[in-house]
């Protein structure tokens, strides 16, 4: 049983790059293009790992250590996430707080590495990243508080394993509100449209991509892989929240979960294809809106 629990992190480590491939295929489909293979990121990672690195003369040790810290944070964050009713390898009361702060540490390392280059573009991206992160943090915690109110305060694994069809009948509106709020969070934290455009070519408008301009070789591989893990983490949170795993047969849970993940990726791809990127000044409003969704869910729960 204990060994089985590790299947979730293992699946995340192996399959995460595939998810970004799916998004790109969906976007290509909407654009009427053939698009890259879904395995493209794997090829890229493999190629990058064999390369040597180029560093700016302005940089110090920070940028050399940064990618390892980021990847370590993401890899460990996956060990807190459950897989339906199958508990995560690490679970304790309040593990979700640690999850949020591991992501915070990863951001801290990314942003400092960006500032290490002394580039004003990267400084700009770093500044935006910390601003949006500070605004995104409360909606994550407010959403979490809704779950705590509903299922009692325990480990993440235990809380999400209790979501069943009955939960949907009695308090579906809560799950929808928090689900929407966290989906916006997913788009923000993973630098997707409408908050940020991963494919833009203008450094002035970028957030996440501009911070990793000066990476190359294995460092870039670490950063890309960590980004795909981060996408997996947020998607897994949304899927765990929305799919009533408790009502499914145990053998069905893992396949349904993976299907849910693919579905979220398709959704991200669709959102990217049909929405334009927002102006930077508008993004705080979106984030505060996301926090309000969670707050409304809280109020609904308190009134009910």
């Amino acid at each position: 049983m204990n060994a089985l629990r590790w299947t979730f992190p293992l699946a995340a480590w192996v399959l995460a790059p595939l998810m970004l491939g799916i998004i790109n295929r969906v976007k290509a489909f909407f654009a009427g293009r053939q698009g890259p293979s879904v395995w493209q990121l794997y090829y890229d990672l493999f190629k990058l790992l064999q390369k040597a690195s180029v560093y700016s003369r302005s940089t110090s040790t920070v940028i050399r250590i940064g990618p390892s810290v980021v990847l370590a944070c993401m890899a460990l964050a996956t060990t807190i996430l459950p897989w339906g009713e199958l508990q995560a390898p690490v679970t304790f009361v309040g593990d979700i707080i640690l999850l949020a702060y591991l992501l915070g540490l990863a951001r801290f390392a990314t942003v400092l590495s960006a500032l290490d280059t002394g580039s004003s573009f990267e400084g700009m991206g770093a500044s935006r990243e910390v601003q949006f992160a500070a605004l995104a943090e409360p909606s994550f915690f407010l959403g979490m508080l809704v779950l705590v109110l509903h299922f009692g305060f325990s480990g993440l694994s235990k809380m999400v394993s209790e979501i069943s069809l009955e939960t949907w009948q009695t308090s579906g509106v809560l799950l929808i509100l928090v689900g929407c709020s966290w989906f916006i969070l997913l788009l923000t934290e993973n630098s997707r449209i409408p908050v940020d455009d991963p494919n833009t070519h203008l450094e002035l408008t970028m957030i996440h991509e501009v911070m990793v301009l000066d990476y190359g070789g294995p460092d870039l591989a670490f950063i890309l892989y960590a980004a795909s893990l981060k996408m997996w983490i947020f998607a897994a949170l949304v899927v765990n929240l929305v799919v009533p795993m408790h009502s499914l047969a145990p053998w069905l849970q893992a396949p349904i979960f993976l299907l849910g993940m693919v579905f979220v990726m398709v959704l991200v791809g669709i959102v990217e294809s049909i929405l334009a990127r927002l102006r930077l000044q508008q993004i705080p409003k979106v984030l505060i809106g996301a926090a309000l969704l969670s707050l409304i869910a809280l109020i609904v729960r308190l009134m009910g």
Binding site: S68, V93, L102, S119, A134
Partner: protein, 669 residues
């Protein structure tokens, strides 16, 4: 107990000796030896008390009406001694080298430093209201003289004056507090005061007075005005001691008074949670807008005091609504944050001092690239930055985690009031954490990373060993407390137990008087989980780095310029500055910050020069205290006519007052 008092007297004695040889270069070293010896001696009873071996209290005869020289050391006092015992000796050692280039005699500053250390230790042991106030005043005065060390500068004298006034407003509130409480209790001994039954109104008044009096020292908004003035003005090792340790005596006083006020009504925790949220969020917002490194750190003290207030608020919440888990987690988190903040904030001030010492400026926007010349300072500063941002695996995360746990457990309470406050604690802490991380990314990134922005930064050199080692020890403590979290929880519990004795009378029949440790088991289990992940994080991070180095071409490096969109001649002045980095966030808070912008825009086709400048003065000082003091000045200025310097008329005043007193005394017979 006698050992503890001896430990307090040793630094005082050697401080006096340093005062006698005040022109000698050895004076600060001798005083520092006093601090080391004294803290070493005092550590013995403190550790014993934390291990559950509370020494009997000591009473010495004192012919002062209402006063008695009573000293005691319980779990709460002992825990609050820890930051002093850790930070004071390290900062003293640092100070010896920091001040070595001064031309002034150093005996005075060394003496007051020792007096401050000794008075803080004695304050924690004082068990009588009058004694407490006397030591409180000694502490305020000695820290005042430390703040005005550089008294040849007008702004330093101004800062000292602000500190003195603010400090005495606080002391004034405390005088009223102890006078009222003493009248009710018939004694100023803490033991007797704790046994007094107070009416709810009286308890409420005393609580508000305590919040004002102790809150001024601790730095609750809007009573925080002295912090951003005094901390930058003082020498850095003094700022470290004041900001890291001294302001916590305010928190101690508040907790001590709470143990005497009986069962807390719901209104108190509402007050503390609101104070915590306001101080936390506005503290970090003001910090974001600062350009002066030490002023930025001072505002972060306000923010962290806010977090501590949130913890104490959560604890009171648990008491008021009968949620023992919440009580232990809230008080535990708040009190542990006192120690944690002492460690990383003093480290940050020592780091800022090292930067100022080596570059001659504290203006963040003139620095940059220091990590290459000041490796030790940079590494310790980044550790402290991560710790103060509450990031694992460092100590700041542990205490914030406990307060989060308190907030999350409070959500399940049946009372709607508790739930709303618990939500406010959880959401507020998340926002504060995010903003603090943003601010410290700015501080570390702009000061230490990138390219030097001015000649100040180009010529920087690493500081000497006596300044480096204290920083290294504190950085190790940041990581150590983070990795030994369950043990830290264990030493917090005796302190929590003292505070929890608040409701003993109200809850005598309930069975959980002895279950503090059982209540802490969930927390300990969670902390074990945190420690496992933190350890794994360190190992995995190091492992990944090694793997990355040993990849086929992993250690091959080519050096080039930073990518700037093909721009060929980047200069250091093109870098993002602290102001531009923080601008999106400070814009969000512009209603509160009132940042003033002065700019001369570029004009014409070949603009010669353009300037841009922002200033963020303290809102409470500008809009609350300045008008208030102007009003007081206007109202009282007629009275000034009585004070004209003619001595014979002063004698007349004395005579009139004496006659009036005689008449009053005779009349009341």
């Amino acid at each position: 107990m006698e050992v503890f008092i001896l430990g307090c007297l040793v630094p005082l004695g050697l401080g006096v000796f340093a005062l006698l040889i005040r022109r000698s270069k050895a004076a600060p070293w001798i005083a520092a030896i006093g601090v080391w010896l004294g803290c070493g001696v005092a550590a013995v009873p403190v550790i014993q008390a934390l291990a559950g071996n509370v020494p009997p209290s000591l009473q010495i005869a004192w012919n002062m009406p209402g006063g008695s020289l009573t000293f005691g050391l319980d779990g709460l006092s002992a825990f609050f001694c820890l930051p002093i015992l850790l930070v004071s000796p390290l900062a003293a050692l640092y100070g010896c080298q920091y001040l070595a280039h001064e031309k002034k005699p150093l005996g005075m500053v060394s003496f007051f430093y020792n007096a401050l250390t000794a008075s803080m230790l004695l304050l924690l042991a004082a068990r009588n209201g009058l004694l407490f106030l006397v030591i409180w005043e000694v502490m305020a005065i000695s820290s005042f003289f430390l703040v005005i060390f550089d008294d040849e500068h007008a702004h330093v004298r101004q800062a000292g004056w602000t500190y003195l006034v603010a400090s005495h407003i606080g002391t004034g509130a405390l005088l009223v507090l102890f006078a009222l409480f003493g009248k009710q209790a018939g004694s100023l001994d803490f033991d007797l005061m704790a046994k007094t039954a107070l009416s709810p109104t009286m308890a409420g008044i005393l609580f508000v007075l305590a919040v004002i009096g102790f809150g001024t020292k601790a730095g609750f908004i809007p009573l925080h005005v002295w912090l951003p003035e005094a901390h930058p003005a003082a020498p850095s090792h003094v700022s470290a001691l004041m900001s890291g340790v001294m302001i916590k005596t305010g928190i101690y006083g508040l907790l001590r008074i709470l143990t005497m006020l009986g069962h807390p009504p719901a209104a108190w925790e509402v007050q503390l949670v609101i104070i915590g949220l306001v101080s936390g969020i506005l503290g970090v917002a003001f910090a974001l807008a600062q350009h002066d490194l030490k002023r930025l750190l001072a505002y972060h003290s306000v923010e962290n005091i806010g977090i501590i207030a949130l913890g104490i608020g959560a604890g009171l919440l648990g008491l008021a609504w009968d949620q023992p888990v919440l009580t232990v987690l809230g008080f535990g988190g708040g009190i542990l944050h006192v120690l944690n903040h002492a460690v990383f904030k003093s480290l940050l001030f020592l780091g800022a001092g090292a930067v100022a010492h080596s570059t001659g400026t504290r203006d963040i926007d003139h620095l940059g690239g220091l990590i290459k010349s000041m490796r030790w300072t940079a590494v310790t500063f980044v550790i402290a930055s991560a710790a103060i941002s509450g990031l694992p695996p460092f100590n700041g995360f542990i205490s914030e985690f406990l307060i989060y746990l308190a907030g999350f457990s409070g959500v399940r309470a049946n009372a709607p009031g508790t739930v709303i406050l618990a939500i406010a604690i959880g959401g507020g802490l998340a926002l504060i954490g995010g903003l603090a991380a943003a601010c410290f990314v700015k501080a570390f990134g702009v000061v230490f990373l990138g390219e030097p922005r001015s000649s100040h930064a180009t010529g920087a050199e690493e500081v000497g060993a006596a300044m480096r080692w204290p920083m290294a020890v504190l950085a190790a403590a940041c990581l150590g407390i983070g990795l030994l979290a369950p043990a830290a929880m264990k030493i917090v519990l005796p302190a929590v137990q003292v505070v929890r004795s608040v409701p003993v009378r109200a809850y005598e029949e309930t069975p959980y008087g002895v279950t503090t440790n059982a209540l802490a088991t969930t927390a300990t289990a969670s902390l074990m989980g945190v420690v496992h992940i933190s350890t794994a994080l360190l190992l995995l991070g190091a492992g990944l780095y090694l793997v990355r180095r040993y990849l086929p071409r992993g250690s091959e490096e080519t050096a080039t310029g930073t990518w700037d969109c093909g721009y060929a001649r980047p200069t250091a002045r093109m870098q993002y500055t602290a102001s531009s980095f923080a601008q999106p966030l400070t814009d969000l808070f512009r209603i509160f910050l009132g940042t003033r912008k002065h700019s001369a825009d570029p004009e014409g086709f070949f603009p010669a020069r353009a300037t841009f400048e922002t200033q963020t003065p303290d809102a409470a000082r500008e809009h609350l205290f300045a008008p208030l003091f102007r009003l007081i000045d206007r109202v009282l200025s007629p009275v000034r006519r009585m004070q004209h310097g003619r001595i014979h008329e002063y004698l007349l005043y004395i005579a009139i007052v004496l006659v009036l007193l005689l008449i009053w005394k005779a009349g009341s017979r």
